[in-house]
Amino acid sequence: MRRLVTDTLVIAERNLVRLPRAPDLLLAFTVQPVMFVLLFRYVFGGAIRTPPGITYANFLIPGIIVQNIAFGGFVTALGLNEDVHKGLIDRFRSLPMARPAVLAGRTFSDIVTNLLSMTVLTVTGLIIGFSFSHTTALDVIAGVGILVLFGYAFSWVFALVGLLVSSPESANSFGFIAIFPLTFISSAFVPPQLMPAALRAFANVNPFTIVVDAMRHLWIGQAAGNYVWGAVVWSVVIIAVFAPLAVRRYRRATGA
């Protein structure tokens, strides 16, 4: 167990040390979300009817942060895929290190990058008119906690994807074909009431809706029902399913 912790930290440290040396990736997780915030706020914002009493800036920021956090695990998919192709996974698997440590270290370092992009987005939000309202400091922190947990869960999804796909390009298309629609057919950008019936039905059960609504409850005081617990349960279930699958795949990974 001690080996698992130290090995995980060694790998996490490696991922974080190399991050500023590949600045394009860092750029993708800071500049790109800011661009999205500006586009949605100023291009679509005027055309979207938000629930009474909620400005679009307040509506948008929790949604776009959740979307962004879900994509944060993308670093894991790309990184693992690169490691498989470069033979580094072979090197790690031939070392007497704890078996889950490479993946645990990867997903752990995602937490750090996710916190970074969360900060960038929140600051951008505050500049364009977002404000924490009808909330307490504790609720805001609980919201950060949910974001970290949900992002961590998606890191495990992306860990499995990174080990399964043949190239970074296919990891990319998985992200856009599977995750993108999932985030859009949710309450993240547009209230589901405005969608056609079939999409609305999907959006209402989509875990993204649950997490986004939990965030809106915690950050802007929107009525939330059981969404906060729902968000936690969804995150835990995703980890419980994808972490073992990814570790199993890692054990059997056969290189390029």
Binding site: R14, R91, L95, P96
Partner: protein
């Protein structure tokens, strides 16, 4: 066509070791190893023995099964059948323990391009369970030894191909493993870097490391390996020292260059009794295959002198491993490799 010759002749430093090999002396022992991927039978009952402190060269074209052997022995892949012991440990049941005693350097240099050389080695050391300070000290020591000390704090992406291979090899040596697996260590290197790496490997072996080396280069096996196992289609088709394998191909090539204007036909007649096959003559050069090296030059000179024929130059050429490979597999090593690369 399965032929197993005597195991390798001891290298000079090992002459105190008795010729029989007991289990204790075998660093690697493989029996009936099989592995298939779907319909493709990658390994079909491979047997191998490597004595401690020696180098086994696993020679074969691409797709012959060399890398599969290494991956199983390095605990990266489970065999379908057969057993393998490395450093006294079973590769399947003692895998976790075995990983502390092996080093692996791959075909592609498995190093992190965005880390510096020292960061790479420190990371590997810590993953072997060393404290940070010790891992770093070991890293500095290895960088020094592999003449990478000046590049220690540069990201690996600025390294040349040869430097990356040396760093990869250094990674494999962090824990001073008694057994080292080198999967095509010099593929894609320029001749100078290749020579450099060969010398490094020779130094390691001189210090007592056991090495299993795969290669498709015959000269590499010839230079580094004490014993060579030729593998094709997942089976070991011949095994022995480089010399034993060359002897198997049959005989030495004797080449006699006559002085200008000498009678070539007379020379052929004079030399014919020395060979089972008729000598070949072209442009004043007479070539023949002889069964044994010993006494051949003296006899050839005697026969030609008796016939009154002047000799300009006279050479015995040993068959190369290329001749061996061709005669054992019916195809040339490199050609086969190219075909498979084209088919892939």
């Amino acid at each position: 066509m399965r032929t197993v010759l005597n195991m390798g002749t001891p290298r000079p430093a090992d002459q105190s070791v008795p010729p029989e090999t007991s289990d204790d002396e075998l660093a690697i022992s493989v029996r009936g190893l099989s592995k298939s991927y779907g319909d493709v039978q990658a390994l079909d009952g491979v047997d191998l023995d490597v004595r401690r402190g020696t180098v086994l060269g696993l020679l074969g074209p691409n797709g012959a099964g060399k890398t599969t052997v290494v991956r199983i022995l390095a605990t990266l892949l489970l065999p379908d059948a057969g057993t393998a012991r490395v450093a006294g440990l079973d590769v399947v049941h003692d895998a976790a323990k075995l990983r502390e005693r092996i080093g692996l350097a791959g075909q592609y240099a498995a190093v992190d391009e965005n880390l510096t050389g020292l960061e790479n080695l420190t990371m590997v050391g810590r993953l072997y369970g060393m404290p940070r300070r010790q891992a770093k000290a070991r890293g500095v020591e290895l960088l020094d030894r592999f003449e990478l000390d000046e590049a220690a704090n540069r990201p690996v992406k600025t390294y040349s191909g040869g430097m990356r291979r040396r760093l990869d090899l250094a990674d494999a040596l962090v824990a001073k493993p008694p057994v080292l697996f080198l999967d095509e260590p010099t593929t894609g290197l320029d001749p100078r870097s290749r020579l450099n790496l060969w010398e490094t490997i020779e130094r390691l072996v001189a210090e007592g490391t056991t090495v299993l080396l795969t290669t498709q280069y015959l000269d590499e096996a010839d230079r580094l390996a004490d014993t060579i196992a030729v593998i094709d289609h997942g089976t070991v088709i011949a095994e022995g020292t480089s010399d034993e394998l060359k002897d198997r191909v049959g005989g030495e090539r004797l080449e006699v260059r006559l002085e200008d204007g000498e009678d070539v036909d007379a020379a052929v007649r004079a030399l014919a009794p020395m060979s089972a096959e008729p000598p070949v003559a072209e442009d004043g050069l007479v070539k023949l295959t002889v069964r044994e090296r010993r006494g051949v030059i003296v006899e050839a000179v005697r026969r030609l002198t008796e016939a009154g024929i002047g000799v300009d130059d006279l050479v015995i050429r040993r068959p190369t491993l290329d001749d061996v490979f061709l005669s054992l597999t019916g195809h040339v090593a490199e050609e086969k490799a190219d075909e498979e690369a084209a088919a892939a």
